[in-house]
């Protein structure tokens, strides 16, 4: 029985930390999030692709890194720590989807996406809620896709969309005229969303039943991945809180010496470490194809969501007034947590999946 990462994954995690601390310190990525049109660094994404980060889940014989969900979780934990902006996870999930599609077209896009040459993302939601439509209103007929998708992650910047339609999954390359996207700005600046009206040529990738089956697997990876990002978010949030409260003086002492605050930070640690245990256990179970994997992923997602709500909220509280300023970083983590809690399978969905997997 071994819980620690093996050497390969531990080194990957360490290398990722060094890369991100060097190339994506929060001060710099905040400038990108707040001021650039894309909201992330395309150069850094190209570098990540070059280094093979987009192929973490692909087996080695398929040109991937073969480090599995445990390796992916280790990388995402690091990305969570620096509130890494951009479509990294969305791109991974699109790649995971393309991998499950037969045909040359899917393979071509998969290769280009893996190489970082194109940005492909999933376009699924049609309403303002994230609930998956039982039957998408977006239609595929005569090789044209007509409809409207919402909450498309980094949709405005995408080179192609993987669209759920009444006929199953279809691929829509960006038309020459562009997407005509309307941004849906949320409070989280590290993540962009768009609403995209579709009336464009596209091609079918998978039939409806195969689409459901493929997306169920992709969603599981998405939930686990979001939980791993949340772990990093909480970890760093707690560090900020600790550092600030040790530094800050009030009533003639560092405020970290007050027991009321110490106990809150102890609870933050408990929630963070509990999430770590749940995330890596679920990642391991997924890689081991354990019969319990779906249930454990639901546990990790639900735990990470609830825990991050508490940890990131307390981070603002324990910073006092500066915690409410734009200048300080607590709100960046707080807002990241909101996206990751609600998207990629909300807490409510995770709890329902947990019940279902438990036969209840």
């Amino acid at each position: 029985m071994q819980f620690d990462l093996d050497d390969e994954r531990a080194q990957l995690k360490q290398a990722t930390r060094e890369l991100l601390e060097g190339e994506s310190p929060l001060a710099e990525s905040r400038a990108l999030m707040e001021q650039s049109a894309e909201g992330f660094s395309k150069a850094l994404y190209a570098q990540l692709a070059e280094l093979g980060y987009l192929g973490l889940l692909l087996p080695e014989d398929a040109g991937g890194a073969g480090v599995g969900h445990v390796g992916l979780a280790a990388v995402l934990e690091e990305m969570g720590r620096v509130a890494f902006p951009g479509p990294f996870l969305d791109q991974i999930l699109a790649i995971e989807t393309l991998r499950r599609c037969p045909g040359d077209e899917a393979r071509r896009w998969l290769e280009r996406a893996l190489g970082g040459d194109v940005l492909v993302v999933l376009a699924r939601a049609e309403t303002l809620s994230l609930d998956e439509p039982a039957q998408p209103e977006t239609r595929l007929a005569d090789a044209r896709i007509v409809g409207r998708k919402r909450w498309v992650p980094f949709g405005a910047q995408a080179d192609a969309l993987l669209v759920t339609t009444d006929q199953g999954l279809a691929l829509v390359p960006r038309p020459d005229s562009g997407w005509n996207a309307t941004p849906l700005e949320t409070i989280d600046l590290a993540q962009r969303f768009a609403e995209i009206p579709l009336a464009a040529p596209g091609s079918a990738l998978l039939g409806p039943a195969a689409t459901d089956a493929a997306l169920a697997e992709v969603d599981r990876t998405g939930a686990l991945a979001a939980a791993a990002l949340l772990l990093g978010v909480m970890e760093r949030s707690l560090e900020l809180t600790r550092d600030y409260t040790v530094e800050r003086q009030a009533f003639g002492a560092p405020i970290a010496s007050f027991q009321a605050l110490q106990h809150r930070m102890a609870d933050m640690l408990i929630q963070t470490e509990g999430t770590r245990a749940a995330v890596y256990r679920a990642a391991w179970a997924t890689d081991a194809e354990d019969a319990d994997a779906a249930r454990l992923v639901a546990v990790a997602k639900a735990q990470a969501g609830d825990a991050s709500r508490f940890v990131c909220g307390e981070t603002i509280q324990l910073h006092g007034g500066v915690g409410y300023t734009w200048e300080y970083d607590p709100h960046i983590y707080y807002k990241r947590a909101k996206t990751l809690e609600q998207f990629y399978g909300s807490t409510r969905d995770a709890l329902e999946q947990l019940l279902e997997a438990s036969g209840i």
Partner: protein, 391 residues
């Protein structure tokens, strides 16, 4: 990462499971409910069961063979906790001896002490209790005043201990007593003291459950032999702390396994009363299931560290807070979701046959107090893990 059990661990589980299927002829909950079993009879049932376990080689699993153990590791010990909890087996009565004193003797005792005390501890011939807390010293354990005065080669104990679990049925007590009034930590010594002697008065104390499962004990010159000092004079504090630390994680999988059984009954109850389809009920149950898996995940982490022969990290300090606070939420949920049926006393008519929620609910208030209260656990995390400054 690899969370699988190896082949010999799986074989051990299979062996134990088969043995339990043969030997747990009646689940413990039903024994508790049987009006023919008074408190003493229940202790005797537990004693008998412990003897059977020991004869079959299932106790002292992680202790060296030379002192009556089986020479296995923490993983097997946790498999034991899991299987016995799932089987609703009678709990061993000598849990304080086996859980705390055994490791203390193995790590700090003399060869003679190990040979003298371990076999009878495992066979339940001698039941042990723990004499640490005093009326004036609980959380602040180093504030104990109970003292040991030299008497020739030996010592005489004077003072009081309280909240002594299983004291009313115990034969021996391990006591922290002062051998130097000046030295707060270095003046404490670890003694093994027989209870059946002059100068010892053990009085049962009734708990909120109505049973007198703990007691208070008054020492008025009770004899403690020099040969029964564990470690050296003045090492008592250090021994107590290392033993408690060593024990963290040793039974990590016990509580989640118990919760599996409890949650199953909660779900069954909600199915029976027709509320299992209600969204509020489903959410409440789902969160408890999730919490229990978080506890188990954390337990695997602790266990893996112990199995690698390393000292547990931050995860071990979370463990007690996680499970004790979960236990409260879980039994509160049972009261809310099962209604007054959950409040029926152990032997009341219509009490749920497989789960004593009323007892569990009250007992869940103890877990956050004993073995270092929740507040003390948080202090420890703040100081040792987060390294926060003290005032």
């Amino acid at each position: 990462m690899d969370l699988r059990y190896d082949e010999s661990q799986q074989a051990f589980r299979a062996e134990l499971r088969a043995w339990l299927a043969d030997h747990v002829t009646r689940p413990w909950t039903q024994e508790l409910r049987d009006p023919a079993n008074d408190a003493d009879a229940l202790v005797e049932l537990r004693r008998d069961f412990q003897r059977e376990l020991n004869d079959a080689g299932f106790l002292g699993l992680d202790w060296p063979v030379e002192w009556g153990g089986r020479g296995l590791g923490p993983v097997e010990k946790n498999i034991f906790q899991e299987e016995t909890a799932w089987a609703d087996a009678p709990p061993v009565p000598n849990f304080l001896g086996i859980g705390l004193l055994g490791p203390a003797l193995i790590h700090h005792g003399s060869e003679e002490q190990r040979r003298r005390f371990i076999p009878k501890m495992l066979s339940a011939e001698e039941i042990w209790c723990q004499g640490f807390s005093e009326p004036g010293a609980g959380s602040d354990l180093a504030g104990i005043r109970c003292r040991a005065e030299p008497d020739g080669d030996d010592f005489r104990i004077h003072g009081q201990k309280v909240w002594t679990t299983f004291g009313p049925w115990a034969d021996w007590i391990f006591v922290l007593a002062r051998t130097d009034p000046e030295d707060r930590y270095g003046g404490i010594t670890f003694f093994l003291v027989p209870l059946h002697q002059d100068g010892v008065d053990m009085r049962p104390l009734r708990q909120i459950t109505g049973e007198a499962e703990f007691g208070e004990v008054f020492f008025d010159g009770a004899l403690a032999r020099r040969a029964h000092v564990v470690g050296k004079l003045g090492e008592g504090w250090q021994i107590a702390m290392t033993v408690l630390a060593y024990e963290r994680g040793a039974t990590a999988l016990l509580e989640p396994a118990k919760n599996d059984r409890y949650l199953k009954d909660l779900v069954t109850g909600c199915r029976e009363n027709g509320t299992l389809g209600r969204p509020d009920v489903r959410e409440r149950i789902a969160r408890l299931l999730a919490d229990n898996e978080v506890i188990r995940a954390n337990a695997y982490r602790t266990l893996a560290t112990l199995a690698a022969g390393r000292a547990p990290g931050p995860e071990a300090s979370l463990e007690k807070l996680l499970w004790t606070e979960h236990a409260r939420r879980q039994s509160e949920a049972a009261f809310d979701l099962l209604g007054p049926q959950a409040q029926l006393a152990t032997r009341a008519h219509h009490a749920r046959p497989e789960m004593d929620w009323a007892y569990e609910h009250l007992w869940s208030r103890a877990g956050t107090i004993y073995s270092g209260s929740s507040e003390i656990q948080r202090n420890i995390i703040a100081k040792r893990v987060l390294a926060l400054p003290t005032r």
